[in-house]
Symmetry: C4
Subunit: 366 residues, 4 copies
C-alpha cells in the first residue's frame, strides 16, 4: 500500500477521482469493509446511476448578484447544504482517523456527523472541531448504555442526534466475508466500550429467534429516546412516505432519506429516487436530508430540486481521507461546493430557495 499524499495532484479534479488513489492506500480487507455494498451491490450502483437519469433544465441570463449557498439547519449555520455522512472507523483509511476529517470539516465550514463507531472517542473528536457536529447512534438493546451515550454527546457539544434505523442487523455483506475482514488490533469501537450485547447465533446460523433479533428497536424506542434528550432527533434510513409521517408523529425533528449507501438491504431503490415521495409526505414539516450517490455539484442541485434540504457525503470522504488526510477531505468538499455553485449559476438559481422541480428537464417530446 502507498502512503498518503501530501498534496493533491492535477489528476484529482473531481470526487470520483479519489477512488483510484484510495484503493492503493487502504488494505484490501478494509477496503472491502469500507467500500462494498450489500448483496449484489445493485442499490449501491443505482444510487449513482439514478442521478444520471435526472437531466437538468438550465435557465439563462438571470442575475447572480448576491448569490449564496448558505442555510441554517437545526440552528447550525452551514456554508452549503453539504454534510459529512457518518461512517465507521476512519482509522482504517488514514492514521489521523476522525481528527483529520473533523479538521477538514472545520476548514470548509461543513458539519460532520460523527459515527458511534468512530475510531476515536466522541469527546476527542469534538475537541478538535471548529464547526458544528452531529452525533450518529443506534438505539442499542442496552438502553442504559444508549442513554449514557446520548448524555456524553450532549455534554461534548454535539448539536443533533442522527438515529440510524435501517440497519438493526447487519446486511448481506458478501464482499467483507469473501475478503475475511476483521478489525485490525489498533482499531475498535471505543465509544461502545462497556456496552452489553445480546447473544447472536454462531457465524452462518440463522437470525430468527435469536436474542439479537428479538431486541431490535421499534417505534416505541423513538418515543423512549424523545423523552431523554433536548437535542434534535434526525431519523436516518427512512425511505417510505408512511414511515416518514410516523417519524414526525413520534417526535423526529428531521429525516435522512438513505439506503445506508446500499450496505443494508440490496434491492432498495436509489436514494434520489426515494426522495420525492418522502419529501412530499413530509410537506416541509421538518427538514429532509438525503445521502447515497452524491458525487457532483449537479447531484446536490438535483437533490435540492427534488425536496432535500441538504445532502451528506459518505464514501468520497473516506476516499479523500485515505488519499491525503485532512487536506484531501477539505479539497474534496471544496471541489463539491465549487461545482454546486457552478450548477446554480448555470441553472439561474441565486439562492437555495430558487432551486425547485423546475430545475429538472421534462421528458423529451417529439
Amino acid at each position: 500500500m502507498l502512503p498518503p499524499l501530501t498534496q493533491i495532484p492535477p489528476e484529482i479534479a473531481a470526487l470520483g477521482d479519489y477512488e483510484r488513489f484510495a484503493r492503493e492506500r487502504i488494505a484490501p480487507a478494509s477496503w472491502a469493509y469500507l467500500d462494498s455494498g450489500a448483496g449484489d451491490e445493485w442499490t449501491m450502483r443505482e444510487n449513482i446511476a439514478a442521478f444520471a437519469r435526472l437531466p437538468l433544465r438550465p435557465r439563462l441570463l438571470r442575475s447572480m448578484q448576491g448569490a449564496s449557498t448558505a442555510l441554517n439547519l437545526f440552528g447550525c449555520d452551514l456554508v452549503a447544504p453539504i454534510l459529512i455522512a457518518p461512517t465507521a472507523f476512519h482509522a482504517l483509511a488514514h492514521p489521523d482517523a476522525e481528527l483529520a476529517t473533523v479538521m477538514a470539516a472545520g476548514a470548509t465550514g461543513t458539519c460532520m456527523v460523527v459515527s458511534t463507531q468512530a475510531s476515536l472517542l466522541l469527546e476527542d473528536v469534538a475537541s478538535a472541531a471548529a464547526g458544528p457536529l452531529w452525533f450518529q447512534l443506534y438505539i442499542q438493546p442496552d438502553r442504559d448504555f444508549t442513554e449514557g451515550l446520548v448524555a456524553r454527546a450532549e455534554a461534548a457539544g454535539y448539536r443533533a442526534l442522527v438515529i440510524t434505523v435501517d440497519a438493526p442487523v447487519n446486511g448481506v455483506r458478501n464482499a467483507e466475508a469473501r475478503a475475511g475482514f476483521a478489525l485490525p488490533p489498533h482499531v475498535r469501537a471505543v465509544n461502545l466500550d462497556g456496552m452489553r450485547l445480546p447473544a447472536a447465533g454462531a457465524p452462518g446460523t440463522l437470525l430468527f429467534g435469536t436474542p439479537l433479533l428479538e431486541s431490535i428497536p421499534d417505534w416505541s424506542a423513538i418515543a423512549w429516546l424523545r423523552e431523554r434528550t433536548r437535542l434534535p432527533i434526525i431519523l436516518k434510513g427512512i425511505v417510505d412516505p408512511e414511515d416518514a409521517r410516523r417519524a414526525i408523529d413520534f417526535g423526529a425533528d428531521g429525516i435522512i432519506v438513505s439506503n445506508h449507501g446500499g450496505r443494508a438491504l440490496d434491492g432498495i431503490p436509489a436514494a434520489i429516487d426515494l426522495l420525492p415521495d418522502v419529501a412530499n409526505a413530509v410537506a416541509r414539516q421538518v427538514p429532509v436530508l438525503m445521502d447515497g450517490g452524491v458525487r457532483r455539484g449537479i447531484d446536490v442541485l438535483r437533490a435540492q430540486a427534488l425536496g432535500a434540504d441538504a445532502v451528506l457525503i459518505g464514501r468520497p470522504i473516506l476516499h479523500a481521507l485515505a488519499t491525503a488526510g485532512a487536506l484531501g477531505v477539505a479539497h474534496a468538499l471544496r471541489v463539491l461546493m465549487a461545482e454546486f455553485e457552478l450548477a446554480m449559476a448555470l441553472t439561474g438559481c441565486r439562492t437555495l430557495a430558487d432551486i425547485d422541480a423546475g430545475c429538472l428537464a421534462p421528458a423529451p417530446r417529439r
Copy 2:
C-alpha cells in the same frame, strides 16, 4: 477437473459464488447439459435480470418478536418457502449424486423434488430422506409405465407429484449439441428402465408428423392421471393465466410457474414476470410456486410479494453439489434461508403472511 471441496471457503458467501467452483468440477460437456439454456439463452438470462427490476420497499422499526419463515404445503411442514427443484442426473455433478442432495435437504429442513431422470432409483433416494419428498415426472406416451411410476412414488412415500408440462419435446439445446454431450456410461435414467419410447426422427430431422409429436400429452392426460393417484398433482411449467385456470378445472392441486429454467422455449418471459398474472388468475384456490432465477433471499421475498407460496432452486443446487457434495448443498440452502430472514427483517415482515405487494417499491415519481 478439480475434486469436490471438503469445506466451504470464505470466497463462497452467496449462491452465485458456487458457479465458478462448479465449473471447475464438472466435465465441459456435462456442464453444457446441466447449465445451458435453450436457443440464445435469453430466457435464462431474463430469469435473473428480471428480479433486479423489482426494487424493494423497506418499512422500519417494526417488531420482529416471534418472527418465522415456516409454512405448510400439501401437508408438508417446511422451515422456509424454499424447495429443491427437480433436475436430472445429479451424478453428472457429484459421485454421491441424489444421495448427497437429499441428505442436505434433510439437514436443512427443505423439501426436495426428485426428478424422474434421477441417476438413482426413486426408492433409494427416498430411503435416504429425512424430510418430505415430492416426485417429478412427465406423462409418458407409455401410459402403463407412467401409471407404474406413480405407484412406485406413492409406495416410496413421496408426498406429491410434480408433472412437468412445458417440455413435451426437447428444446433447442445448442450448447449441448456444440459440446457433443452424451451421458457417460455410468449415468442413465434408471427410473425409466423398461419404458417404451415412440420412434423419433433421425437427429437433425423434423418433428412434425413423427410418432413422438403425435403422442405428446394434452389436457386429457391430466384428467387420466387425476383418476390414478391420491397424491396432490402439481403442474410445473404453467405460465399463462388461462392455462392456470384450466389446470385447476382439470384437478391440479398446485401450479409451478416456470419456464423450465430457460431450457425449453427461449423467448418466454422471466418466471418472476409471469408470476403475477398467474397468481391473480389462481386467486389462492391452490398454492402457486415458482422457479427460475432465484439467487438471493430478496428474490424469495420478491416472489412471495408477487403471489408465490414458495420458490424452487435449480442450478445453484447443482453448483453447490458439484463444489462440495451434501455439505455444499446444505450450505447453499442455509445461506439462502439466512438471506431471506434478513430480507424479511429489513422490510418489517414478521411472517410470510406479512409479505405482499406492499414490499415492492412503487415506480419513482418526480
Copy 3:
C-alpha cells in the same frame, strides 16, 4: 482464407453459428460488401435486437396431431413460411454461386428469390431449380431493358416478380468504402449486360441534380410494370402503412416489409417493428412477407404472430453458402424449419392459422 467445409461440424448448431465460419472463407473486401450495413449499422443491429423484445406466450397441453407448417403463396406450395431472400453475387461467397443456393432450396422445399445481380444468368439458375423461383429486380431507368428482363424471367419459369423499391440509389456504405471493395474480375452482374446507365457524378460528388437521381422510379413506374407482366408483383422495401395501401392501389400482389437488411437507409426501425402497422393497413388484402433479422425459429413465429405470411432469410444463407456450399444452405434451412416446428409445438400452434398475436406475451404486470 479457408476452403469451404464438406460436412457440418457440431459447432454449427444454429444459423448464427455460420457467421464465424463464413468470415474465414470470404475475402475481407467481399465480406464488407456482403455483410455490412449502411451508416453506423444501427438498423442492421436493430433488426436482430428487436426480436428479443418480443417475448412469447406458451400455451400447453394442446394436441399437435396432424401439425403442419405448409402454406401456398402466389400459387406456390411451400413446406414452411421461409424463403431465401434475394442477395447479390453469390460467387463472392462460394465458387458454385447461385447454383449451390438453388440446389439447397430444391432439396429443402424452399422458394428462392433470385437477384437481378446474381453472378449467373437467371436462365441458368432456373435450369437447376427443383422448386419454385421468384425473380427480384429494380425498375431501371432503361425501361426497355427492364421490360426485356421481365420477359426473360417469365420465359425461364419464375413464378413472381419481387420489385425492390427502397434503394433507388446506393446507401451510405462506409464499410465497403473503407475496405476498398470492387467486384473481382470473374464476378459481374451478367443479367444486366447491355443495359444503359444514366451518368452518375464522380465518386464523392453530390447526388441531387444528377441524371441518376432525376430518373429514379416513382409510383407511375409500378403502373407501367403492372401492364407488362402476368406475374404477381411483390413490392419489397415498403415500410409505411400509407405506402402499403398505395402499393395495393397500384396493383401490387404482395408486400415485403424490409429495410434492405439495414443496407439502404440507416435509422429505419427494425423490420419486425415495422411489420404490425403495415400488416394492419393491408388487412389481409394481399400477402405480407418480411425480412431482416430472422435468425431463429421463434423469430419466424414472432413474424407470423405480428401478421407476416412468410419470412425471407438473407445474410445467414450467404454465411452457410460460404461455409459449406449447397450442403451448408440446406442445413441452415433445415435447422430453421426444425426450430420453427418446435416453437409451434411449445406454443401450442398446430398450423400457421393458429399463430396470432396471442402467441406473444403481454407486458408484465405487478
Copy 4:
C-alpha cells in the same frame, strides 16, 4: 504526433472516422481542451446517443426531380442547412488555423461562425472568406470592448452575431484540469487583446461573490446589444421554451438550441431532445438552429424534422481540420451534404420544406 495528411485515405468515409486520425495529430493537453466535455461528459455522450433514439420513416417511390437542399438564412444563401459551429483556437488543431477552415467553408458553400476566441484576427479570417461569415461573441463585462468588437465584426463584413449565453463562467472541465492544459505560447485570443477582465478567485476557490460572477450578463444585456448593432442577433445556448420566447421579446432574430457541446453544464439533455419544445415555443417567428451530436446526414434530417432550420457542426470540423487542414474540412462537409441528400432521397423529401415530423417513425405497436 503525426503530421497532417495531404489526401484523404479510404478509411475516412464518414465524419466519425476523423476522430481517430485527429487524436494522433493534436497534443494530448490540447485534445483534452478541444474535445472533452464538462463533468462526467454525460451530456456530451447524450448529444450523440439521442439521435439514435429517433428512427426514420421512409416513404418510397416519390419523384425527386429538381430536388434541392438550398435555403436562405438571415439573407445568406446556403447550399445546405449545415454550418460550421464556432469553436475556439483552431491553431491548436492545425497550423493554418481558421484560415484553413474558412477556405473549406468557401469551397463547399458553407457558412462559418467564427469564434471570438479564434487564433486569428476576425478581420484576417474575413479576408480569406469566399462565402458568408457570422461572428460569435460573449457579452463581456467590459461593455465598451464588447461594443468595439461588434463594430469590428460589422466592418469586416460579418452577416450575423451569434451571442453565446449558456457559458457565462467556465464549466467543470475536469479533463482539461487533469491534463494540465494551458494555451501554448503561439496561441492566444488575439481578438480579445486589450479587454478588461474582472478579477476571478484563485484557482480552486469558489465562484459566488467574485466580481466575475457579479458581472455576468442578464437579459438587459441583450437589450443593450440590440440597440448597438444592425446585424441579426442569434442567441446560442437557449434550451428552455420560456427562455426562447423571452429571447424573441428581447429582440433576438434567431435561436441556436445548444448545450455547448456538453462543455458547459453536464446533465443538460441532448440538444436534439431539447429542440422540439423550443421550436414549438418559437412557432416559426424566428429561425431555430441546433448543434450538438450531428454526425450523419440522417441527423441533419432528424433535426429538420423536429423543427430546426439548420444545424452547426463542431468537433468533427476540428477533427477534419487536424487530420488534413482545409482539405479535410471540405471533405467532411461534402460527405455530410452527400449523406443528407441521400437521407432526403430515401425518405422521399424533395426540398427542405418536405421534411417534417412525418419523417420520423412512430413508436412500434404490437
